[in-house]
Symmetry: C2
């Protein structure tokens, strides 16, 4: 199996009110669920994989989602953005500019 895309979602959780914030605290769990749901809905299990991670760094811009092999980093991702990431980026090959942090 050679994946077309592997998405990594930071799931790091800090306590509410923590000055650094956290992806988990900003809703990463729902983003993970939305990505997993989209993979299922589109039948892309062989092509697209999603994995939760520990801290990847840009905590103040979370939830962070990194797409490989593209090396595209998204920040502030919400569940409602996930279909657009699939349509525009994963299917059509054009990263979603407004969400890109790197």
């Amino acid at each position: 199996m050679k994946l077309k895309h592997h998405l990594f979602v930071c799931m790091n959780q800090r306590p509410p009110g923590h000055p650094r914030g956290s992806c988990g605290g900003a809703g990463a769990g729902s983003v993970y669920e939305a990505i997993a749901g989209e993979i299922e809905k589109r039948g892309l299990f062989e092509q697209i994989m999603v994995t939760g991670t520990f801290c990847m760094g840009p905590c103040d811009k979370g939830p962070t989602v990194v797409v490989y092999p593209d090396g595209v980093w998204y920040g502030g991702v919400k569940p409602k953005d996930v279909a657009e990431i699939f349509d525009t980026h994963l299917v059509s090959g054009e990263p979603v500019k407004r969400l890109r942090i790197m």
Copy 2:
């Protein structure tokens, strides 16, 4: 910052004796430390990043380490393998065949 390589180490931990095993139970913590140490020793903070993850699937072949953007999956990685992964793969561009699972 554009990373040259991003390594993902599965840190999933199941109880000792669990029939599926786990990367954490097979020593993934030490592998993560060895990779982080090698990045520090070689001064590669701007080029190589390591991130711990939740389960990536091949639990019976753990510890699992995935290298992007290459899309190379390693299994059964031990701390003593880490310098070779750096020398052979990350520096010279040739994946380490004997550790490769995908």
